[in-house]
Amino acid sequence: MTEIAHYSEVWRHRTPRKRLFMWMGWLALVALFVWCWQLMTENTMWYFVLDAPRQAADIGGRMVPPRWSYLPELMQPLWDTINIATLGTIGGVIMAVPVAFMAARNTTPSQTILRPMALFIIVTSRSINSLIWALLLVAIIGPGLLAGIVAIALRSIGFVGKLLYEAIEETDARQIEAIEATGASGAQVLSYGIVPQIMPAFWGISVFRWDINIRESTILGLVGAGGIGLKLQASLNTLAWSQVTVILLLILATVVLSEWVSARMRQAII
């Protein structure tokens, strides 16, 4: 032990410099908020805002009672929507798996070419919303289910690819080392050392993405990519508010159900 006569009673978590930066950060945040508020109020037509409660009440009044007799007509589009989500997820996952293996640092065949390419695919897929993918695809392959399925698949590549490649990078290197030490080939190291370790993540991610895709595919019809969104658009256009209610409730029920299924499946895996 060193000889110290007097121990300080003062200890601070952050250095004065760091504290100064923190204060400046908070100040900037408040300034930004004030500025945004001004911008927002400047472009608002207050006449419409003041009118809002009355309008909401009016539409609300037209929405009830829901026109339940419309329900049977919705079953086919709902089935289409579920198919878009499911087939789109399967397609997306199939395409995402090789991308993930190319993107993970520990499995990529080439750090300099393939890995940046895979990361680029992931970013592209993630940065474009399903609705925009669908818009593009409706223009390319025409309106209908196929455009919806492909849109969902393309959007899913990024999500599944990113989470899966992170799971691959987090695998336990010792298990892989042990398989390498037996004299196994590259493909065997993959199938014995890595695949078993990422299986729970793989199923978890896929089911989670399917659950998200159910929600996303309900609106794809708005741009003509099939499913229940088509009916929603038709009802909105004809101001058939009581039908809109039925559609929204049906979507709500479907999403709740898919979330329940996905939660149960993920629980069963882990």
């Binding site: 336990d172 037996t182 199938s191």
Partner: protein, 272 residues
């Protein structure tokens, strides 16, 4: 027989982990490798099967220089070297049987391993090995359902499934309690004796090394500073390997050893 000749390893950071290590391990010899943390024990055994690439020197297994092999030939030669790891390094989500059969990966084509359609002889041998390590009834359990000692037995069976000519053993008991440690060490030495198999065992527990090893090599800062039988491991020798410490106090503290011994003997008699 394994011969290391002038084996050196310098990491990219410039740290010299091994410098000019020359050793010969004859058939059937169990050699303990002791030394402080960072002395290069782990690097040394990984340089032999080239999980770590040596910078200089030769690794002769029989008359093949492992240090000079290309990728494909290295894979073929790795089959001759079984490795046992500190934290078992089993594939946790696979069954015990799949883990043992993974020792055959170097011998079977990909489709067989992928479909788990191993040749009948491999399967029979795997069962034999599981029986030998006392885990016959656990064949279809998942590896992560086993206790530490049981997992290390699976690790041993996996290494033996390769039908190796050399065992590399990296801290086999570091994650085990003293009693299980001794059981595992005994199993290892028995198996090596049965098959006349040479082994290099990294071990940080000096009393355990003295009890089970036929020869002890001490490493310090990547150099061999001691090489002799366990009896020659005097206080002075330990000081050259590890630095100054009260060695006698350490040895006395190993009372549970005797207890574990008795227990293990009883177990062996029960099996016989």
């Amino acid at each position: 027989m394994l011969t290391l000749d002038g084996l050196s390893k310098t990491y990219k950071t410039g740290d010299s982990a091994l410098s000019d290590v020359s050793l010969t391990v004859p058939k059937g010899q169990i050699m303990g490798l002791i030394g402080p943390s960072g002395a290069g024990k782990s690097t040394l055994i990984r340089c032999i099967n080239r999980l770590v690439e040596p910078t200089a020197g030769k690794v002769l297994l029989g008359d093949v220089d492992l240090a000079r092999l290309g990728k494909a030939e290295l894979r073929r030669q790795r089959r001759r070297i079984g490795m046992i790891f500190q934290e078992y390094a089993l594939v946790e989500r696979l069954t015990v049987m799949e883990n043992v059969l993974s020792g055959r990966l170097g011998y079977v084509p990909f489709w067989r391993s992928f479909l788990r359609k191993y040749p009948a002889a491999d399967i029979q041998r795997a069962y034999q090995l599981l029986d030998r390590v006392g885990l016959m009834d656990k064949a279809d359990n998942r590896a992560d359902a086993l206790s530490g000692g049981q997992r290390q037995r699976v690790g041993i069976a996996r290494a033996l499934a390769q039908n190796p000519e050399l065992l590399l053993v990296d801290e086999p008991t570091a994650s085990l309690d003293p009693k299980t440690s001794r059981q595992i060490m005994r199993l290892l030495t028995e198996i090596c004796a049965e098959r006349d198999l040479p082994a290099i065992v990294n071990i940080h527990d000096v009393p355990l090394a003295q009890q089970f090893m036929q020869r002890i090599v001490g490493l310090n800062a990547g150099r061999v500073v001691f090489d002799g039988p366990p009896e020659a491991l005097t206080e002075a020798a330990l000081t050259t390997i590890y630095g100054e410490e009260d060695w006698n106090a350490m040895r006395k503290g190993d009372a549970e050893q005797a207890e574990a011994e008795a227990d293990a003997r009883a177990r062996m008699e029960a099996i016989a």
